[in-house]
Each structure stands twice: as C-alpha cells, then as structure tokens.
C-alpha cells in the first residue's frame, strides 16, 4: 500500500494526538468493553505522594537561589550597620578621653614656663583644628539641581548619568577656598572638620572629604566674624554661588548664623618631648612636650 501523503508527519502526529499514554487504551481494550474501571488503588496513591514531594522539592530547590542571595545582602548590610555603630561609639569615647587628657595637661602645666607652654599649645591646637570651635559665622548649603537629584543620602558611589546639575568636589573646593580667603577660622563640611591636611576629592560620583564619603546635601559651616560673611558674599564666593544657581539650577545658598560650631578635626599624637630647661620644678613635675598634629 502506498505510503500516506503525510507519512513524514507521523512524529508530530504522534506527539500531538498520542498525549494520553497508549497504555491506557490497551489496558482498557484488554479488559474488554464495559468492564469496571480499575481506579485508585494504593500504587497510584503512592505514586501521587511521590509526585507531590517531587513537585514541592523542585519548587523549593529551584526557587531558593534568589532568596539566599537576598538574605546574604541583608545580613551584610546589618553587619555594616553594626560596625558603623561600634565605630561611632568608640569615636565618641575617644573625644571624651581627649578632653580628659587636655584637662590633665592643663592642670600639669603650671608655673611660668608651664603657662607659656600651655599658651603655645593652645595656639597650636587652634591652628591645627584639634579643638572644637564655636561662634558666629556663615552656613553655605549646596545641593544638586532638582532634575539631577537622586534620593537624598543615596549611595554616593553608584554610577549615574553625569549631569550638569550635580555638585562636584571642585565646587566644594572652590567654596571652601573662598571661605578661607575671606578669613574663616574653622570650616566643617557635613560635620567633618577641615584641617591643613584635609583634602576634598571625588571618587567616581562620590565626594570625599578627608577620606570620608559624603552624601548630598552639603552643608559648609564656616566660623568667623561678620567681615568674613561680607567678604565671602561680596567677593568671588558669592559670585560663584550665584553662577551655580543661574547656570546649572544648583540649589546653592548662604546664610549668616550667630551660633555655629565645628567639631574637632585631627588626632594629636605625641611625637617628641623635651624637658623644661632648668630641671623640673616642684610645681610642674611633667616635662613640657612638643606635639604635632598627625
């Protein structure tokens, strides 16, 4: 007999039409028409239990990779937060201890030589930004233009599209340089005190002040007299802020404030010490020491 015209389609035909296992048909034919069906016995139930187990095990195993990855991230974020809390607690303890050391040192520096040394030390500390400063001054606020803004405090190291409206490290450098030039005595950016060794850089999209990444908005606190405020506003600093506002839509503003404070910056480490000339006096048993800012 000649082959059927669609003989080449038998494979597809079988797959599409023969979905029901032919075993069922053969078993039914063997039993003969009209015989009662052999339904659900224990073998079938057992097979169904196994099937249910397989399906659930498959669902759990094949789905879990996403869940474990998410869990790891959350665990890591928690550890970072914990570490950050420990660092902050210890930093606060360091500040307290430094104040204690200062008090003890002042108590130990008595007598003429001691007082002279104490004065020199106080001047040196002020210049080295080793003590907190408070007083009147100027607050300059810098924030990205609203069109370029991401959520405040978002991870600063994430790469985004470069926008003109973003505050860059150069803006902060310029503003702080103008503040120094106007006569500021102490400057802090987002609570980080600027010392003679602090740099304002950028790493990718993040702005780093003294190696600490800061997130927008940026608050530059400058402590100085009213002449500093005038000199800044009327001089290059004010002009720069105005240009940022008009050309890029950056939110830049400055306002004078009567009570500002800047935290201490450096850690003073004792490098070398010399004895007070003339031998130790009974009132000043501790030798005076030269301290350097680290």
């Amino acid at each position: 007999m000649s082959p059927r015209p669609d003989a080449s389609m038998t494979l597809l035909d079988q797959v599409l039409r023969g979905a029901v296992d032919p075993g069922y048909q053969e078993a039914a034919a063997r039993r003969g028409p009209g015989a009662p069906r052999r339904r659900g016995g224990w073998p079938a139930a057992l097979a169904c239990v196994v099937m249910g187990l397989i399906m659930v095990a498959g669902a759990q195993t094949l789905r879990s990779p996403e869940r474990s990855v998410g869990g790891e991230r959350v665990a890591l974020a928690e550890r970072v937060e914990q570490g950050r809390g420990v660092v902050e607690a210890r930093s606060a303890a360091v500040v307290g201890l430094r104040a204690d050391i200062d008090a003890l040192r002042r108590a130990g520096l008595t007598g003429d030589a001691g007082r002279a040394a104490a004065d020199e030390l106080a001047r040196g500390q002020a210049r080295a930004a080793a003590v907190p400063v408070s007083g009147p001054g100027l607050v300059v606020s810098l924030d990205d233009a609203p069109s370029a803004a991401t959520a405040a405090g978002a991870a600063p190291r994430e790469a985004g599209e470069s926008d003109d409206g973003r505050i860059t490290a150069r803006d902060l450098q310029y503003v702080t340089n103008e503040l120094w030039a106007a006569g500021a005595e102490a400057i802090a950016v987002n609570g980080v005190r600027l010392t003679s060794a602090s740099a304002i850089r950028h790493a990718g999209q993040a702005v780093l002040v003294a190696y600490r990444p800061l997130a927008r908005p940026y608050t530059v606190t400058a402590i100085g007299g009213p002449e500093m405020v005038e000199a800044f506003d009327a001089g290059q600093g004010g002009a720069y802020l105005e240009e940022l506002r008009s050309s890029f839509g950056v939110r830049a503003s400055s306002r004078a404030d009567a009570a500002l404070s800047a935290p201490a910056g450096t850690v003073l480490t004792l490098r070398y010490a010399t004895a007070v000339p003339g031998g130790p006096s009974p009132a000043a048993p501790a030798p005076s020491s030269k301290e350097n800012a680290s």
Partner: protein, 110 residues
Amino acid sequence: MIPVLGLVAGIVLGIVLEPTVPLWLEPYLPIAVIAALDAVFGGVRAVLDGIFDDKVFVVSFLANTTIAAFIVFLGDQLGVGAQLSTGIVVVLGIRIFSNVAAIRRHLFKA
C-alpha cells in the same frame, strides 16, 4: 479519589518537611518535575475518558521520569545536555498542553 488525596498529602509533606535535594540530583530535578506534571495530567485525562488504570499510571510515571533523567544524563555526557533537556521539556510540555485541552473539553462540554 485516593490518588488525589495522595497528591495532596505529598504536597503537604513536601511543604512541611522541606526536603533538601542532594547536589548530584539537582540537574534532573526540573525534568522530574515536568514528568510528574505530565503524568498527573495524563492520569486526570484518563479518568475523565473513563479508561484510568492505576498500574499504567504508576508505570508510565516511573518510566517517563527515569527515561527523561537518563536522556538528560546521556546528553550531559555527550555535551548536548542543554539541547536534549530542551527537547524533553518541549515534548512533555506539548503532552501537558494536549492533556489539559482534553480535560478542558471534558469539563466544559461533556
């Protein structure tokens, strides 16, 4: 009825016990799941057609799963594991579709 209860019991057991699949079995798990689905729908269609036979049901499920796993294993050894696995998934998927269509015809027309 009892096989349905068995299926439900299997699912509940799986959720409660949370079995961990050994690592060497994991490549065959997707195939096993699809073969199990195919057997379930084939069985339901046979019931609705009136020709269900539990021996055929069990044997077909075991044979399908084993043969599918063996084909995947063979494919892995030969280096065509992904393609063979795709082929098996396609065939079983077509069968599942046909069975579900027949079940639908039974439920909504007959």
